[in-house]
Symmetry: D2
Subunit: 248 residues, 4 copies
């Protein structure tokens, strides 16, 4: 039996890619694609079981209130969720105990897995550093993902009582050893011809482990969204981030 899927923000760049991915999946059926100005009731009429929301922080809360109220599960990639907003969603879900909502800042499964693996491996290696590589139009260095990855690594090491990576550098040309994020060195490469890439390097006596993620296309969120669509009906309440669905 197929899952009946609705998409909010269906005409947007991301929304179009999700509609296409849903239509291409044998076990999913696209029953409604709505945009700004369309009445949400169309999801009820169409019998949508799960709705994917890639819209805007200004409207996503109204969307969620409606969907939860109608007993429709939601998979949300829209940004702008702080603790207050998450609590609000939890409140609505208490009144609808059979509904599941997934809110995730990153649906690229490879990115989520590589952060998780880095976090798990961090305490077993004497040394760890992060290199992130992006196109040269990026404004921030390091990338948000590298910053979060380094933070997770630092936390895992602190919890396990592992000290800083050894480093005998006594003569350094300013910046050579990268940025220090919670004691973890992070290097940012900017290069024409690249898109979004990250390497976590972990090393101990005689061996190194490298976890590399390459994203060359924004369509890389699609498999993660579909995973969310397939799993959310079985997860009542609020799920934050893709990790819990990966069952690691």
């Amino acid at each position: 039996m197929t899952i009946r899927v609705g998409v909010l923000g269906a005409q947007g760049r991301v929304g179009q890619a999700i509609c296409a991915a849903v239509e291409a999946a044998a076990d999913l059926e696209l029953v409604a694609g709505l945009d700004k100005g369309d009445a949400l009731d169309a999801f009820v009429t169409a019998g949508a079981e799960v709705v994917v929301d890639f819209t805007h922080p200004d409207v996503v809360m109204d969307n969620l209130k409606f969907l939860v109220g109608k007993g429709i599960h939601a998979v949300v990639g829209t940004t702008g969720f702080d603790e207050a907003r998450l609590d609000q969603v939890r409140g609505w879900l208490e009144a609808a105990p059979k509904v599941g909502v997934l809110i995730a800042p990153n649906f690229a499964i490879g990115a989520v897995l590589s952060m998780r693996f880095a976090e798990q491996a961090a305490r077993f290696f004497e040394s760890v550093e992060v290199i992130e590589l992006h196109h040269p139009n990026k404004a921030d260095a390091p990338s948000g993902t590298a910053y979060r990855t380094a933070g997770l690594i630092a936390e895992a090491r602190a919890k396990a009582g592992v000290g800083r990576s050894p480093d005998a550098t006594s003569t350094e040309l300013d910046g050579a050893r990268g940025a220090d994020v919670d004691g973890v060195r992070v290097h940012s490469v900017r290069l024409t011809g690249l898109v979004a890439h990250q390497e976590v390097l972990l090393g101990t006596q005689g061996e190194t482990l490298t976890i590399r993620h390459d994203s060359i296309d924004r369509s890389s969120f699609a498999p993660g969204v579909l995973l969310g669509v397939r799993e959310i009906a079985g997860r009542h309440g609020l799920t934050v981030g893709l990790d819990p669905l990966l069952d690691l």
Copy 2:
């Protein structure tokens, strides 16, 4: 408080490296190093709490029987354990419920982690292939590790109902697409200047995840052995493989 450690096979190449690593660790104390012909009683006299055994299949069972009988924990890298031998050890341990024995075929933490991560990630990607790269004196292709890794990947995908990696190849020069291990393609590179390396490549729409392990020195077993020494007192009974200690 330090852990009192004994080493069996202390003069062997591996044993020497382990003795050195134990002595270098602040929380461990090397209290006895024995070899072929030495009386095992010396471990009791020295008050060893954990004994590391890198000896020979011919003597390891006698060693274990002695150690378990004396209430000494053991960390074993000696090869040649089949189910019958493992059952025998379990039998001895039933009579010594406070003793822990760890028997592992591979103590390189990076190798163990990369296999585990590959297994965990395998079902989330449309495609997966394995490249292993070794020095040119290696007799078998693919390596045992690559063979096992591909097997774990295939099993994880089968369990999750994920099909074979897509492949439109219609014209192939014999061997170009590698070996087929349970439906997973494995490529073996042999190159002077390399030691032992492995890459698991996982890909889905728009993104790839690469898990690479490089081992350039046989000393890479040392951190895994020390981890075993530190944890085994807390794990009564038989533990097979390093994985359970990694707590993933």
Copy 3:
């Protein structure tokens, strides 16, 4: 002073990218873009100094005859040139000694350089192997580029009297060691999420050199075409392949 550039096949996918690249370059001016059915005289009227031809084997010879006759330089990415066709072009150029024509099968500078470097380095290393990695819709394995690269490597080693790469493999699962192209092992990976990538691995005692080319976008021919446009006026006669312009 800017160079006045015309484009033949201007509405094609490649032609459009070239028009955009010419317009974006400060030292180049797009003066005419023609397609099937348009009269070539428009290039003369527009005062084109160099014309880029990405059309079809059926029409490219007529185009070149016209351009050379009118004293216009040409940069040609159209396929289908055999020795007979090249000789024909050389004949036309004898009568027009100030005209330059560049015909190249591959304008991706990175691909051309990586082949060249592999060829140059091949004789200094005991071992060399090639890994090419592509999207799973590719029909042939190995790729044409990998096949040519291996051939160039084999030739360079034969010329220098270097023997085959050492290989002690005695037990091989069928295909593990890749395809044999003139004595050079080539491995073909097919993975969703990849586009077109190649690695040449060279190894000798204690060190390895890796030359990797990643192409993630068909626009990668553009910088090579612009290089040709800028250089061809200074190179009278026929130039085959991008290599001579790279001045290595």
Copy 4:
């Protein structure tokens, strides 16, 4: 016919490796290995045609004066040569026009080739950055090799009129974007389990070229020294650096 080779500094760590490599080579014969205190005349008696010198700046000039005077070619890895010393050697060689001397700061062929290729490729790419990765006991960052590589790249780009690599970074955590060496960004990774590695990343529209050198063993100078021994008899006068012998 074999070449008769002498080694100066034969008991040193490097000298021993060279003696072993000479003995293992079918076309070379080790005829004398001398050390501090031994009379150099032994090389004459033994009929050495080429002498390899890995000694000390304090004695290398006396060694060279003797060898050139006796008509023996020399391959020198000893450090400490400035322009004054090189001029002195050139002076001695004028009086011995059939003798060849090779003085090189780096005999690792892979390192020399990767620097050369980076220099050659630098002007064809919009962007270029360098990542060097070493064991954590290294005192300087970036490494001397990375520093020289970046300098060669900068020079090649300046000569070709290529501007700085594009970089839109407006928010940077201190150090994230690496060190600036003549306008080229250099990143230094320090990791247990690594030895000496370097990556030059070059990128243009839609494609990247990566030149990576991995050195895991100090024996990596041996193939370069043997190349020098084989070629120096054919190169009268002074040759500085391995590059000219590579014939690129």
